[in-house]
């Protein structure tokens, strides 16, 4: 190779390095640009919730509060302390907890059992049953709202937390079944066969063999159900009002209630309170959250 060729090769390499560097910078620039688009509303919510109304009128969305002012948080959570028209989130937050916990537990358990039967005790036509259940993941709930409202009334549990628990259990079953079915399908049948030869029955196999290795899918399912039910608005707004409302409905009522002055700081504190449980779950168990989203939502 001539000296000349080596020189031009080096030059070429240099050029491509510069080009690469520019490309990298561009890459990071775009990624950070989008990151700021996603983070912007959260930032605005947090700073607004700590401002006084005076500061809100004086400054812009981005300006920081002069000091951390927790008053809006106190009002959002516990109210102003006078009677009529004083809505605040505390009772509704507990409503949501009382609704979410039983609904998640029961729907997860039913899903685990159905998933177990559909994969380990197969019978003729079982895949049709799976399809039959799976379809429930996709229906637009508007198609069942009217009869559901009548049914809850008939059962005497309309406008109650119990009613919402029932609704969320029923419409959670397709998803929980899907999760467990897809998980159990990957567990070797030999394990079950061996246990059956040893004389283990239906429930023993489930509780002694499958359940101990189900932790990952239980976490995925519980997170999925928790997020769905906590964030639900349609069922909450349709089947409950007044004191039995879950938190999303209460948040919406609070923000829409047209008192004389719009208090954006209280609105933002309320929105954060309503969003914080699911955010915490997402930050703590993001991996499982995403797995649920991609496997549950890929099919649901």
């Amino acid at each position: 190779m001539s000296v000349n060729a080596i020189a031009s090769y080096k030059q070429l390499e240099q050029q491509s390095k510069v080009k690469n560097l520019i490309l990298r910078w561009f890459l990071y620039f775009i990624l950070i640009l989008f990151a700021s688009y996603f983070i912007f509303p959260l930032y605005v919510m947090i700073v607004t919730s700590f401002k006084t109304m005076e500061e809100i009128r004086q400054g812009t969305l981005l300006t920081l509060p002069g000091e951390l002012n927790f008053k809006s948080w106190a009002v959002a959570w516990g109210g102003r302390g006078y009677g009529a028209g004083d809505t605040f989130l505390r009772p509704y937050f507990w409503n949501s907890i009382k609704m979410v916990v039983p609904a998640v537990v029961v729907s997860t358990f039913i899903g685990a059992m159905t998933g177990y039967v559909l994969t380990k005790w197969r019978f003729k036509g079982d895949s049709w049953i799976f399809l039959f259940l799976l379809f429930g993941c996709f229906i637009p709930f508007q198609a069942i709202l009217l009869p559901m409202a009548r049914t809850l009334g008939f059962l005497g549990i309309s406008n109650s937390i119990l009613g919402l628990v029932v609704v969320h259990i029923v419409y959670g079953i397709p998803f929980t079944t899907l999760f467990f079915r897809n998980y159990y399908v990957s567990i070797p049948n030999e394990l079950i066969k061996a246990a059956r030869i040893d004389g283990a029955g239906f429930f023993k196999i489930f509780f002694k063999i499958l359940l101990p290795i189900s932790a990952p899918i239980i976490v995925v399912t519980v997170i999925w159900q928790f997020t769905q039910i906590w964030n639900d608005f349609l069922f909450g707004a349709t089947f409950s009002f007044g004191k039995a409302a879950p938190i999303q409905v209460a948040l919406n009522n609070m923000v829409l209630s047209s008192t004389s002055v719009k208090e954006y700081n209280v609105d933002m504190a309320s929105a954060i309170i309503a969003g914080i449980p699911t955010l915490i779950v997402y930050v703590l168990a993001g991996k499982y959250f995403i797995r649920g989203l991609t496997s549950g939502a890929v099919k649901g």
Binding site: T60, P140, A271
Partner: protein, 291 residues
């Protein structure tokens, strides 16, 4: 007796789920379907009335606006979410520093409810103290941004908030898809002299067809059902300019005592979803049977 019980135990355990879904999903849809052919007003009536409610529905200006809005929203929501999702996924796939942090930021809106999302964006887009004031105070004195209260533009504010909530999810789907492709394919293409752009454009993106399909189905599904976001952001206003089918349905059912009409609108939504979902389920099942 005991033998029978033991033999049928799996089916007995399956029965509650099947029973509940039969009644609460299929039975209820049939009921709604039936009611859509009656002249039910405030309470359901059971004598058949023919297709009158559907005629009324498609003659209603509000419903036509709702369908129009749904089309605008779906197209924009779909295209923007998928474009942002692909760009972010490809860029994140370049051995980026702090990938985990960025991914967390892109996806966290998915953990928030549409009511929280709508509440936040309503404040940001508010024409007096929101984004408009931000730009005016930055020195753009004639900057106006009043989409939220502008009849012609309000529907786009719903797109902005919807995209913010859901595009990170599309990113996650595409990233998972890209990561599942063998490195060998990319290496082989590079040895053959293809540059990175060609590798993505000609090889990887075409290989993402199932992911496109999945994102399409999920996003269309979200948009047909979209209700909470509109309630929180615009309540269908100004006027009725941002009404969508889901909002139309609940208003007809629970505020206007038009049970028959709302059943008809619910069935239209159901059919729209079914038209997207049934081919999808069919192809998914075929793929599963092949593999």
């Amino acid at each position: 007796m005991f033998k029978w019980l033991e033999k049928n135990l799996p089916k007995i355990v399956l029965a509650p789920a099947v029973g509940l879904i039969s009644w609460f999903v299929y039975g209820f849809i049939l009921w709604t379907f039936y009611i859509s052919f009656t002249n039910s007003k405030i309470l359901p009536k059971y004598e058949l009335w023919g297709v009158g409610q559907y005629v009324k529905l498609w003659a209603s200006r509000k419903w036509l606006i709702a369908v129009d809005n749904l089309l605008i929203f779906t197209v924009l929501f779909l295209v923007i979410c998928i474009v942002i999702g692909i760009i972010l996924a490809i860029f994140l796939d370049q051995k980026i520093r702090a990938e985990g942090v960025l991914r967390t930021i892109y996806l966290y809106p998915m953990a928030l409810s549409f009511i929280v999302t709508g509440t936040a964006w309503k404040w940001i887009l508010n024409p007096t103290l929101g984004i408009q004031k931000l730009f005016i105070d930055m020195g753009f004195e004639n900057f106006t941004f009043d989409w939220l209260v502008n009849r012609d533009m309000a529907i786009y504010t719903i797109v902005i908030a919807g995209v913010w909530q859901s595009s990170g999810f599309v990113m996650a789907l595409f990233l998972a898809g890209l990561r599942s492709i063998e490195d060998e394919i990319v290496k082989a293409a590079k040895i053959d002299g293809a540059n990175l752009f060609t590798v993505y454009w000609k090889i990887l993106i075409p290989m993402m067809r199932p992911v496109f399909f999945t994102s399409f189905v999920i996003l269309v599904h979200i948009s047909i059902k979209s209700y909470d976001l509109i309630v929180a952001l615009t309540q269908g206003g100004p006027g009725i300019s941002t009404t969508m089918p889901a909002l139309f349905m609940t208003q007809a059912a629970f505020h206007k005592s038009q049970v028959g009409l709302s059943a008809a609108s619910a069935m239209m939504m159901f059919m729209a979803v079914a038209a997207v979902i049934i081919p999808y389920l069919y192809s998914e099942l075929r793929r599963e049977n092949v593999s």
